[in-house]
């Protein structure tokens, strides 16, 4: 199941809602859940309350409701499919099915505590396949996130941007110091991320083993379009990701090509503690293609880029000037 986060046109910025997908349209999951519960129990008043509880205003909060909410999501999904988009409405007949254009897309995870990208320094990357026990990572600030379709604004301080298509593994359960063999119990799903880097700045910052400005400027983190929830481990590991520039494939991989496993990554970074809605991203640049790691892809002003994975969707953007 895919979950989107969005805003209705008439809503305040903090009135975010969770949407699901049905016949190319989007439906309000909270109200669909209320409709389902009303049909099930005949109690409309409590159905609204329960639906708000399990499907609050963000995907992060939904994930905090844990497996009960995921189970309910499965039932709601079956319910909306049986109704069909044209017959689906809220418990009191409210409109809950929208055309995509009616919903303002948001990054599906708005303010995670941890939004880390696994990555090596340029020095380590000088080797075709660096040897390391430690899946080192860097942090992408939530204030840099943009949603599907939003422009990537070329920063004034850089001459040299590139992009790395990533899977962001989404955490569904809080834990700390999780052993590798339990790691998958903490995974709720996966979404797509494009990690934009100002490479000239990043190279300079790398000399002091830092990266900050080169990785954290407005619109340097594209996230979405949806979070794939409830997929089996095997499905997630074998999902393919294609990163396209002007429609041409420039990166291609699945999580199984990464030089670190999801288990290793979660075992390492859960040392700091992880919570529902946190994500750990793995990019093409950490996956092996042939006899070496793939590289990030250089961008130009005007480039149309797209990160694509069949079960998650397309995360597409254009690079514009400031």
């Amino acid at each position: 199941m895919k979950l989107y986060l969005g805003l209705l046109e008439s809503s305040r910025p903090d009135e975010t809602r969770i949407f699901g997908e049905l016949e190319e349209k989007l439906f309000d999951v909270t109200l669909a859940c209320a409709a389902y519960l009303t049909q099930l129990t005949g109690e409309r008043a409590s159905a609204y309350k329960l639906a708000e509880f399990y499907f609050p205003k963000s995907i992060q909060h939904f994930l905090e409701r844990d497996r009960f909410a995921v189970k309910l999501l499965e039932e709601v999904t079956a319910f909306v499919q049986s109704k069909g988009a044209s017959n689906l409405c809220g418990p009191a007949g409210e409109k809950i099915v929208y055309d995509r254009e009616e919903i303002r897309a948001l990054p599906p995870l708005v303010r995670p505590r941890k939004s880390f990208v696994i990555g090596f320094s340029d020095k380590a990357r000088a080797e075709a396949i660096p040897r390391s026990e430690i899946p080192t990572a860097y942090y992408k600030l939530p204030q840099t996130f943009i949603a599907q379709g939003a422009p990537i604004v070329w920063p004034k301080f850089s001459e040299d941007l590139d992009a790395d298509g990533c899977f962001a593994v989404v955490i569904g359960k809080a834990g700390r110091r999780i052993p590798a063999e339990k790691a998958w119990d903490y995974v709720a799903g996966v979404t797509l991320m494009i990690d934009i880097t100002a490479r000239d700045i990043n190279k300079r910052e790398g000399l002091t083993t830092n990266n900050l400005l080169g990785k954290n400027f407005p619109s340097s983190t594209c996230l979405g379009p949806a979070v794939l929830i409830g997929a089996a481990r095997k499905t997630i590991e074998s999902l393919e990701l294609e990163f396209l520039v002007e429609g041409e494939r420039r990166q291609y991989f699945s999580l199984s090509n990464c030089i670190f496993t999801v288990e290793q990554i979660i075992a390492r970074w859960s040392i700091l503690g992880i919570r529902p809605g946190d994500w750990l991203a793995i990019g093409g640049s950490m996956t092996i293609f042939g006899d070496r790691l793939q590289s990030p892809v250089p961008l130009k002003l005007g480039s149309a880029i797209c990160c694509r994975s069949s079960l998650i969707g397309d995360l597409s953007h254009r690079v514009v000037s400031a």
Binding site: S121, A124, S132, T136, Q143, F157, T208, F217
Partner: protein
């Protein structure tokens, strides 16, 4: 003003210290002032909307909340309200949190004092400001312990000053940079040197700076109008009473104005925090033949900056 965030009966509240160090609850003070002088109905509910619910919102509301806070404090100072209203609270009744418990971004300067660059055996100072991100979630307050994680062998301290941004700034000039500062407080950049060393082999350091509790901040946020010359504040850090670091922000390589101007290229927002970097005297700078200074469970670390108070935390083994 000396602004504070505190827990009172389990509830997070914002306040300011009065002239004798008591806490004035800002929401209650505002409500009291508006109710008693203008008979304003629902003044207590309005307080949250005007002042913001927490310190981050207070900062986001900018001049408006600052002005309302100042006027409320002046009123309370003049009338001395009944003690049962909990407008003025004794410090012993609360638990102080970090003044900004949840910064948006926490940007910490590295290699920003030449004496510290030398002790860390770096060849030379950087050409442009150097900084890294600490996780905002690692912030703790002046009455919290620093947890010593079992993964860490070499735990270190770094006294710094935190510069709290008060207005959104994008590519501001050095001349105007200080206009964007809400205030200043003491900061201790706790660092796990062994973890950092291992991370730096193939990547950048993140874990070594961001275990839970690795960012003590406080005890209070002194508003910018009360810090005449932030660039010349004296710094000091002691461990169990022994002086380890003693310096002055004058010795920063990239000054506060330069840091704000530079990092505003990535867009800074109210509640974002920049820290100055630390002078010499950290445990990592000790020579092989000297007694090690690594922090141990039980140590009391006191970081202070002139006019910003003392930030006192005990290191406690993580259970």
């Amino acid at each position: 003003m000396k602004l504070v965030t505190f827990l009172y009966h389990g509830e997070e509240r914002i306040g300011a210290l009065d002239s004798i160090g008591r806490i004035v609850d800002l929401h209650k003070a505002f409500a009291c002032w508006k109710h008693e002088t203008e008979s304003m109905p629902h003044a207590d509910q309005l307080a949250g909307a005007i002042l913001g619910q927490d310190m981050l919102e207070f900062l986001q509301h900018g001049e408006k909340s600052l002005e309302a806070a100042r006027k409320s404090l002046a009123y309370i100072a003049a009338i001395e309200p009944a003690s049962n209203k909990a407008v003025v609270i004794a410090p012993s009744e609360v638990h102080f949190m970090a003044p900004v418990p949840r910064p948006g971004a926490l940007i910490s300067a590295g290699k920003n004092f030449s004496d510290h660059v030398a002790e860390m055996a770096s060849k030379k100072g950087p050409a442009a400001p150097v900084a890294f991100l600490k996780l905002p979630g690692s912030v703790i307050g002046p009455e919290d312990d620093i947890p010593y994680p079992p993964e860490v062998k070499n735990l270190d301290y770094e006294v710094e000053v935190a510069i709290v941004i008060g207005k959104t700034c994008v590519r501001v000039s050095e001349a105007q940079a200080l206009d964007y500062v809400a205030g200043y407080c003491v900061f201790n950049d706790i660092s796990a040197r062994d973890i950092i060393r291992s991370e730096n082999q193939t990547g950048i350091h993140l874990m070594g700076k961001s275990f839970p509790g690795f960012a003590p901040m406080g005890p209070y946020l002194v508003t910018a109008d009360e810090v005449a010359d932030p660039q010349s504040l004296k710094l000091r850090l002691t461990v169990n009473g022994e002086i380890r670091q003693q310096s002055n922000l004058n010795y920063m390589i990239f000054k506060i104005r330069e840091m704000i101007a530079y990092w505003s290229q990535m867009e800074l927002h109210p509640g974002d925090v920049l820290t100055t970097g630390t002078p010499r005297g950290v445990a990592a700078g000790r020579k092989a033949n000297e007694t090690p200074w690594w922090l141990k469970p039980g140590d009391l670390v006191e970081a202070e900056a002139e006019g910003l108070g003392v930030l006192r935390n005990r290191v406690v083994a993580e259970s």
